[in-house]
């Protein structure tokens, strides 16, 4: 299992993501700078980490979505390589058009930084196979722009196709239908606002995030 973590100027969860991937897979991921135009050969999993890429200028994720490396990420995703976007990574994937919808300013205006209860909606995906459908898990959030928005047709489609991976058990940021994480049509791209990489060992206060990485790595093989 060969993984890569994309690093943008302003990323700040890239090292936590690398630790989570290394612990779950036994192999250290390759860190890939945003100016790269190609990914290393034979990558099975790409993680787009959280942070404040390009200072959130214009819109969160807008600049990063147009950086050179994202062209390579898009091509890899189309070939079926798994892509995990967390927090700013989710914002970048929506801005890049790899996932539908947009993440807007939290409805309550404030930055939200705390542990939240999430409901696992779909346990059939490569990202959620180690969870039970309907299970509630605790994962921290830390974001200002996590208010998921899409038109009703898109929301209905996400629901109908089982592409909502996680929902907030209680409203956190005003997200449409309490959406916390969604999967693309092909099933190989997940974007989520909560941070599973911050809940992988008991010292973090819980290990509910760990199963996401373990399940994903098992699915990739």
């Amino acid at each position: 299992m060969k993984s890569a973590v994309i690093v943008f100027p302003g990323s700040n969860c890239d090292r936590d993501m690398a630790v989570a991937l290394e612990q779950a897979s036994g192999t250290r991921p390759i860190m890939v700078w945003h100016r790269e135009t190609e990914l290393p050969q034979g990558i099975d999993l790409i993680a787009v980490p959280g942070g404040f890429s390009y200072g959130d200028y214009l819109r969160s994720g807008a600049m990063a979505a147009n950086s050179p490396v994202m062209r390579a990420v898009r091509n890899a995703a189309e070939r079926g390589v798994s892509v995990l976007g967390v927090c700013n990574g989710f914002q970048i994937l929506t801005e890049a058009g790899l996932l539908p919808g947009a993440l807007m300013r939290n409805a309550g205006i404030s930055f939200v930084c705390r542990d939240v209860d999430l409901k696992v909606e779909n346990s059939q995906s490569a990202f959620t196979s180690r969870y039970r459908a309907g299970e509630e898990i605790v994962i921290p959030v830390a974001h200002h722009d996590g208010n998921y928005t899409a038109d009703e047709v898109t929301l209905d489609r996400l629901e109908g196709e089982g592409r909502i991976a996680f929902r907030y058990a209680r409203d956190v940021n005003g997200s449409a239908r309490d959406i916390a994480g969604i999967i693309n049509e092909a099933g190989n791209v997940l974007g989520m606002m909560p941070h599973p990489e911050r809940m992988i060992e008991p010292a973090h206060g819980g290990t509910d995030g760990r199963r996401l990485f373990e399940g994903l790595i098992e699915a990739i093989g």
Binding site: A102, M104, R105
Partner: protein, 78 residues
């Protein structure tokens, strides 16, 4: 040539910043403000020969997120 791009949230998209500004105006005692929507103004200084279509493409590809935003282009007279 100076060109201005106005980026605004689509109707029906919740604007928490506009709501906060509205609330603050009321707090200052200004009455009669029915609603506030906040947007962005982006000024471009363009070389001759940059077409209307080019500016449209800039808006669609980067300046506005058309999932949630509308844009309006205003080409100023020099």
């Amino acid at each position: 040539m100076k060109t201005r791009v106005y980026v605004t949230l689509k109707n029906g998209v919740l604007d928490p910043q506009g709501k906060a500004i509205h609330h603050a105006l009321e707090g200052l005692g200004f009455s009669g403000v029915n609603d506030v929507r906040a947007g962005k103004l982006i000024e471009l200084d363009l070389a001759d020969g940059v077409s209307e279509e080019d500016v449209e493409a800039m808006c669609r590809k980067l300046l506005a997120n058309t999932v949630i935003e509308n844009y309006r282009i205003e080409r100023a007279q020099a």
